[in-house]
C-alpha cells in the first residue's frame, strides 16, 4: 500500500515534468533540453524571491511564481533560440541536431547562474509558510504535499489531454505535429500556437519545479538534469506525439523504480529501468503508443 502511494506520487511528478516536454516535442518538433533547467530555475526564483524580500510566501504564491517564470523562460527560449534554429534548418534531421545542441547550451546557463548564486548548495522553500504534515491512510502514510501533487497531477494531466483532443487550438496544435505544411495551408498560425505550447510546457515545468522543491525538501542547480533524462526515456517509451503515452510512460517508470527499490538492491535501479526501456523499444520501435510511420512511395 505504501509502495503504491509512493509510486503514484512519483508517477505524478514524472508526468508533470515530462508532459510539457512531450507536448512541444510532439507538436513543434522541439526536443527541449533546457526543460530541466527551466524546471530548476523556476523553483529557484521562488526561493530567491523569498530570500530577497524576507517574506515567507504561502505555497500557492510559490507555485504561481514557478508557473510564471517557467512559462516566461520557455517562451523566451523558443523565440530567441529554438524558433530561429527551426527556421534556418534545411531539413528535419539537421533541425533535430541543432535543436538538441541549442537546448544543451541553453540548459547550461541557468544552471551556472544558480551555481554561482547558491555556491552549489541545495536551496529549499523551508522559509515558506507551508508545513509538510503526514496522515495515516489505510495503514500507510500520506503527506499533504503528496495530496497536492496528486490533485495537481490529475487535474493538469486531464486538462492537457482534453485541450489537445477537444479545443480548437489544441486540435490545431496537433495538426502541426502531424503535418506542419498542411497545417499552415489550413491557415493555422504556427507562431502563436507555438508560443502558447511553449508557455504551457514551461508553466508545467515551473509548477513541477516548485512542487518538487517542497516534496523533495530541497533542490540543487543540477536537479533538472536527472529528471530530463528520465523524461526523455518516458516520452520515447510512451511514443513521441502521444500525451496518453507519456502519462503511461511516467507511471510505468515510477512503478518500476518503486518496485525495484522495495524488492532489490537499489544500485541496479537505473540499469533495470533503462534496460526495460531498451526492451520495450526492441518490441515496439515507435514506443507504446507511438505513431507507426507508414511511408508510401
Amino acid at each position: 500500500m505504501q509502495e503504491l502511494i509512493n509510486a503514484v506520487s512519483l508517477g505524478c511528478i514524472y508526468m508533470l515534468f515530462a508532459m510539457g516536454m512531450s507536448l512541444v516535442w510532439g507538436t513543434l518538433d522541439v526536443l527541449n533540453f533546457a526543460h530541466g533547467s527551466i524546471f530548476m530555475f523556476s523553483a529557484f526564483s521562488g526561493f530567491y524571491l523569498m530570500q530577497e524580500t524576507g517574506n515567507s510566501l504561502p505555497l500557492a504564491a510559490l507555485l504561481l511564481v514557478g508557473v510564471v517564470v517557467g512559462a516566461l523562460m520557455s517562451v523566451l527560449a523558443y523565440q530567441l533560440v529554438l524558433r530561429p534554429i527551426l527556421r534556418r534548418a534545411k531539413d528535419k534531421d539537421s533541425a533535430e541536431r541543432q535543436i538538441l545542441i541549442g537546448g544543451i547550451g541553453l540548459a547550461g546557463i541557468p544552471v551556472a547562474i544558480v551555481q554561482i548564486q547558491t555556491l552549489s548548495n541545495p536551496f529549499s522553500f523551508r522559509a515558506g509558510s507551508f508545513e509538510v504534515a503526514s496522515y495515516d491512510f489505510l495503514g500507510a502514510r500520506i503527506s499533504n504535499i503528496q495530496i497536492v501533487i496528486w490533485v495537481v497531477g490529475v487535474l493538469l494531466g486531464t486538462a492537457v489531454v482534453l485541450w489537445l483532443r477537444r479545443s480548437r487550438s489544441g486540435l490545431a496544435l496537433r495538426s502541426i505535429g502531424v503535418d506542419s505544411e498542411v497545417a499552415s495551408l489550413m491557415g493555422i498560425d504556427q507562431g502563436r500556437l507555438g508560443v502558447a505550447a511553449m508557455a504551457v510546457a514551461g508553466g508545467m515545468a515551473g509548477l513541477s519545479g516548485a512542487l518538487l522543491c517542497v516534496s523533495f525538501g530541497a533542490l540543487t542547480a543540477e536537479s533538472g538534469d536527472v529528471l530530463l533524462l528520465k523524461a526523455f526515456a518516458i516520452i520515447i517509451l510512451g511514443g513521441v506525439g502521444s500525451m496518453l503515452g507519456t502519462i503511461i510512460g511516467a507511471f510505468f517508470l515510477a512503478g518500476a523504480e518503486t518496485l525495484l527499490i522495495a524488492n532489490t538492491s537499489g544500485t541496479w535501479v537505473d540499469a533495470v529501468s533503462f534496460g526495460l526501456l531498451f526492451l520495450v523499444l526492441l518490441v515496439r520501435p515507435q514506443g507504446i503508443l507511438g505513431r507507426q510511420e507508414v511511408r508510401r512511395t
Partner: protein, 392 residues
C-alpha cells in the same frame, strides 16, 4: 550531467586507507628554479603557493570555503611574521568541478618553477587525477577532503583532512548510550566513502557497541525521491537510522523520514549540518561525528571562528577549517626546514606530520609516514536550533 551529480558527491570522499602497495610512478623529471633551488640562501622574500579548488560548478561551496580558510591562514602567517620576514603569496585556480581542469592547473603550477607547493582539490576524482602528476613532477600537493583510496599512496601527496571513516566510529559511543541494538541505513551506493560507512564501518562499530546493522538500502546519486528507500529502511522499526547521502539528497531523505513518522534515532555525517539547519525544529536529534564544528570549545577553534566571522560573517565551516590547517601545515614545514624549495617542503611536511600538531581540527596525528591526517573527532547533535557538542 550525471557526472556533475556524482562529482558533488565526491566531496565526502574520505576513505579508510588501505595499504594497496602501489608503487609510485615518480619519474625523475623535476624542474630547476627558485622553488627547486638550494637552501643555502635561506627563505626567499615571497613563497608562492597555488590553490587548486572548485570556486564554481557543482562543488563550489567546498572550494570557496576552503579558500576562505586558506586566506585567513595566510593573513595570520604573514602578519604574525611566522616565516621570518618571508611572505606567503597564495593564488587560487578554479577547477569548475572538472577533473581535466584540475589536472591542467596542477600541471601548469608544477611547470612554473616559482611555485613552491600546491594546495590540491577537494573532490576525490580530481585528486586522483592530480596525484600522479604531483609524483611525476615532484611538487608537494596538500589536499583537503579528497578521501579516496590511492591519493596519498603516491609520494609527494599529503592530506590535511582526516578521512571520515577514521573518526566515524565515534558514533558507536553515542548509539551505545542510547541503547540502540538495531541500526538500518539508507546510503548512496555510488559514493565510495558512504558505501564503506554503511557496509564496513558501522557493522564493525556495532560489534563493539552492541548493535547490529540490518537493512541497508542502497540508493544512487541520481535518486531524488526518498520516500521509497526510507520506508523500506524503517519497515522493521530499527532503533536508529543512518542517513548517508549528499547535498540535496540528505534534505530529501530527512524530509521523507519526517513524513514517515519514524521516531528512532537518526545518525548522519558532517554533510547533514546545512540540511538540518534548514529543516529546523523537525530535525531535532539528528547526530553525527565530525572533525570540526564552530561550537567546539578549544582555543584554536575559538580564534579561528572569530577571525572567520570578522572576515566573512557567519560561522566557520569544516571546509574552511581544513583549508586553514592545510596552509598552516605547509608554513610549519617551511619553518621547520628553513627553506622553501619543493624538496624541503616535502621533507618538512613529513617531519611536521610525524610529530603531529594541533589545528582547528583538534589534535592532528599523521599516518602513512606523515602524509595522511588523523583526528579523534567529535560527536555533535542538532537540538532543533543549534549544533551542540556531545562527545569531545
Amino acid at each position: 550531467m550525471n557526472k556533475n551529480l556524482l562529482r558533488s558527491a565526491g566531496i565526502v570522499g574520505a576513505t579508510l586507507m588501505t595499504a594497496s602497495g602501489l608503487a609510485s610512478c615518480g619519474g625523475s623529471g623535476g624542474g630547476s628554479a627558485a622553488a627547486t633551488g638550494d637552501c643555502e640562501s635561506g627563505l626567499p622574500d615571497t613563497i608562492k603557493i597555488v590553490t587548486v579548488k572548485d570556486q564554481t560548478g557543482v562543488a563550489a561551496y567546498t572550494g570557496t570555503e576552503a579558500w576562505r580558510g586558506i586566506q585567513l591562514a595566510a593573513d595570520e602567517i604573514n602578519s604574525g611574521d611566522m616565516l621570518d620576514g618571508s611572505k606567503l603569496e597564495v593564488e587560487v585556480k578554479d577547477t569548475a568541478g572538472d577533473v581535466q581542469t584540475a589536472a591542467s592547473h596542477v600541471t601548469q603550477a608544477a611547470a612554473d618553477s616559482s611555485v613552491s607547493a600546491i594546495l590540491g582539490p577537494v573532490l576525490s576524482d580530481q585528486a586522483l587525477a592530480v596525484a600522479p602528476i604531483a609524483g611525476k613532477s615532484e611538487v608537494p600537493v596538500v589536499y583537503t577532503q579528497a578521501g579516496s583510496e590511492g591519493i596519498v599512496d603516491e609520494d609527494w601527496n599529503f592530506r590535511a583532512t582526516p578521512p571520515l571513516v577514521t573518526y566515524y566510529p565515534k558514533i558507536g559511543q553515542y548509539l551505545e548510550k542510547q541503547g540502540a541494538t538495531s541500526v538500518n541505513t539508507v546510503f548512496a551506493a555510488d559514493i565510495p566513502t558512504l558505501e564503506q560507512l554503511s557496509h564496513d564501518v558501522l557493522p564493525s562499530v556495532g560489534e563493539d557497541s552492541g548493535f547490529q546493522v540490518g537493512e541497508q538500502v542502497a540508493t544512487q546519486s541520481t535518486t531524488q525521491d526518498y520516500a521509497g528507500p526510507v520506508n523500506k529502511a524503517i519497515a522493521d522499526d530499527p532503533d536508529a537510522l543512518g542517513l548517508l547521502m549528499v547535498g540535496a539528497q540528505i534534505s530529501s531523505a530527512m524530509q521523507a523520514v519526517i513524513q514517515s513518522g519514524y521516531q528512532g534515532e537518526v545518525v548522519s555525517y558532517p554533510n547533514a549540518a546545512p540540511a538540518v539547519a534548514e529543516i529546523g525544529k523537525a530535525a531535532a536529534g539528528v547526530t553525527w561525528p565530525t572533525n570540526f564544528d564552530s561550537s567546539i570549545d578549544t582555543p584554536e577553534v575559538k580564534a579561528f571562528d572569530e577571525a572567520y566571522t570578522e572576515a566573512y560573517d557567519g560561522t566557520a565551516t569544516n571546509y574552511a577549517a581544513e583549508g586553514y590547517d592545510s596552509l598552516m601545515w605547509v608554513a610549519k614545514a617551511i619553518e621547520e626546514e628553513g627553506c622553501a624549495t619543493r624538496d624541503a617542503i616535502k621533507t618538512g611536511l613529513e617531519k611536521v606530520g610525524q610529530a603531529g600538531f594541533t589545528g582547528t581540527q583538534g589534535e592532528l596525528t599523521f599516518e602513512a609516514n606523515g602524509h595522511d591526517a588523523r583526528s579523534d573527532g567529535y560527536v555533535v547533535q542538532w537540538d532543533g536550533e543549534k549544533i551542540v557538542v556531545l562527545e569531545q
